[in-house]
């Protein structure tokens, strides 16, 4: 018996004018899974996430959450349906406090209260709790990234999308972020991770899809993480 995956892309096509950003991409992410999406700049990774969130309209194909299509919905409705995005560059609200940033994450829950959700996020990222009354802009890059992930989690999503969460972080902080993803996976979320750090992503993810020119070239399991030759050739195919 096959069950419906939490998130399913089915022949997704995204065009930016004449540019064909994503071509016929199909993949699934299930509960407790991390699926990596790697590839060079301009491969269509971010476009894929934007299409899922309804920020760009898809030219063809479908995006389904528990079998129900998300296409044509506004970004806020996709968020409220249970898909949370940690956007590229974190996009935290620098002028608001850390706690206010987290409370904004509650907007994705639909129903008002969420102190329990805030606690869950604080457990995962103690530093966010420590600095909760500070202005978010005063946090370091790594702390801001933790805040961005915590903010996505308080919405209690079923799917977590991350757009290059390790970008611009020191190696030690990359460890913090990847460890957190591991723990979030154990909480039963479906995670779609877009990354430039191919090797670490392949090692962490249950499977990783290599995207190039908008097309899925190759799917790798965690065992391929040590095989740099395969990785490099996948990137430049």
């Amino acid at each position: 018996m096959t069950t419906t995956p939490v998130l399913e892309l089915d022949g997704l096509e995204v065009r930016h004018g004449a540019v064909h950003a994503v071509r016929g991409l199909s993949l699934t992410v299930d509960r407790g899974e991390i699926v990596g999406l790697i590839g060079p700049n301009g491969a269509g990774k971010s476009s894929t996430l934007h299409a899922i969130m309804g920020l760009v309209t898809s030219a063809a194909g479908d995006v389904r959450l528990h079998g129900r299509s998300l296409l044509g919905r506004r970004p806020e409705d996709v968020a409220r349906a249970g898909v949370a995005l940690v956007p590229e560059g974190r996009r935290i609200f620098a002028e608001l406090t850390v706690e206010e940033n987290l409370r904004l994450g509650l907007a994705g829950r639909g129903n008002g209260k969420g102190d329990g959700a805030l606690r869950g996020a604080f457990e995962l990222f103690p530093v966010v709790h420590e600095f909760r009354s500070r202005q978010a802009g005063a946090l370091s890059g790594g702390q801001q990234q933790q805040l961005a992930i915590a903010r996505a989690l308080v919405a209690d999503p079923q799917v977590l999308l991350l757009d290059e969460p390790s970008l611009g972080l020191a190696p030690r902080l990359v460890d913090v972020v990847f460890d957190a993803l591991q723990e979030i996976r154990e909480r039963g979320l479906a995670i779609l991770l877009v990354e430039q750090r191919a090797q670490r992503t392949v090692a962490l993810a249950d499977r990783s899809h290599v995207l190039s020119n908008g097309r899925l070239r190759l799917t790798l399991g965690p065992e391929a993480a040590g095989d740099s030759e395969t990785l490099v050739s996948a990137y430049f195919s």
Binding site: M53, E76, A79, P87, F93, L96, A107, G108
Partner: protein, 305 residues
């Protein structure tokens, strides 16, 4: 206070008037700034909302209805028009360039003015149900018109309520976030239509409040009622800095205060040049501090939805 009054060579009444007008202009600045915050749209038709409210008050006064009925009618008319403006004009144009939306608000402004001209004629109507507020209160030997104190108090009350709304409530937090980065706010699940609708609603409530205050000071309601005030407030908002509600409000207050103060302190043959001087000052400030007097340095303009 006495010191200030002596130094400026003005009497208490002039100062109180200046505070009153500053407060009213600050409310208009907030009304314009709130909508600008979430829509990146300068609503030139804001003054016509005030004008419509003033006509509602005149309508009620002509029929001899009680004051409170007139005020309720004023609020109902202004809020309905504000929401209708959002639905009919702003919403369909939301994806368009700021220039298109700006021109659209001009069109709405002229349309509303023309409708007022057709319906009520060029001579104007009287809205004098609250004119008793022009009587003075004598406070320790000094005569001060009641409306100056009432306007200052109402403005302070409204601003306090707004601070609480923005700072303490969920919808207030969503409005602040939307003003900072609308796209990210939407990605978190903040509903664009609700946030914009709330901003439009609050700006309408403020316009109605302003209409009540302004008709006390100038009970003759004509199609260009509040037009000059709106232009001054817009100048003040730009002067203060459009990007932040607080700086826009301060700018509105500053220009209202300056306008009220100079208008009262200068003899009539000089005060007729007042707007020219105020606008010259605005141009000067913009040349020196293009982001506005009260804006923070290094702040970036944010993307529209």
């Amino acid at each position: 206070m006495t010191f200030v009054a002596t130094v400026l060579g003005a009497d208490w009444q002039t100062l109180a008037d200046a505070f009153g007008l500053g407060g009213i202009y600050a409310l208009m600045a907030v009304g314009i700034g709130l909508v600008f915050g979430v829509l990146r749209l300068v609503n030139f038709a804001y003054g016509q909302l005030v004008m419509a409210g003033a006509y509602a008050l005149a309508f009620a006064y002509e029929r001899g209805w009680p004051v409170w009925v007139g005020i309720i009618l004023c609020f109902a008319v202004v809020v309905t028009l504000a929401v209708a403006m959002d639905w009919v004009v702003f919403r369909p144009l939301r994806g368009h360039s700021p220039a298109v939306m700006l021109v659209a608000t001009f069109a709405v402004a002229f349309l509303m003015q023309s409708i007022a001209l057709l319906w009520f004629g060029p001579l104007g109507k009287i809205a004098a149900s609250l004119s008793a507020l022009n009587q003075p209160w004598t406070i320790s030997g000094v005569d001060i018109r009641k409306i100056s104190i009432v306007a200052t108090a109402v403005a302070a009350g409204c601003l306090l309520a707004l601070v609480l709304l923005l700072g303490r409530t969920r919808v207030g937090l969503h409005m602040r976030a939307a003003a900072l980065d609308f796209q990210t706010a939407r990605l978190l699940g903040v509903r664009a239509n609700r946030v914009i609708g709330s901003a439009v609603l609050v700006s309408g409530l403020l316009a109605a409040t302003v209409a009540v205050m302004l008709t006390v000071q100038s009970p003759l309601v004509t199609p260009d009622f509040a037009l000059r005030d709106t232009i001054l407030v817009l100048a003040g908002v730009v002067l203060g800095g459009m990007n932040r509600l607080i700086s826009a409000t301060l700018g509105g207050f500053a220009i209202g205060f300056a306008s009220g103060f100079l208008g009262g302190a200068l003899p009539t043959n000089q005060s007729q040049y007042l707007p020219s001087f105020l606008f010259a000052a605005v141009i000067l400030v913009l040349l020196i501090r293009p982001r506005g007097l009260f804006a923070r340095a290094g702040q970036q303009a944010v993307e529209r939805v």
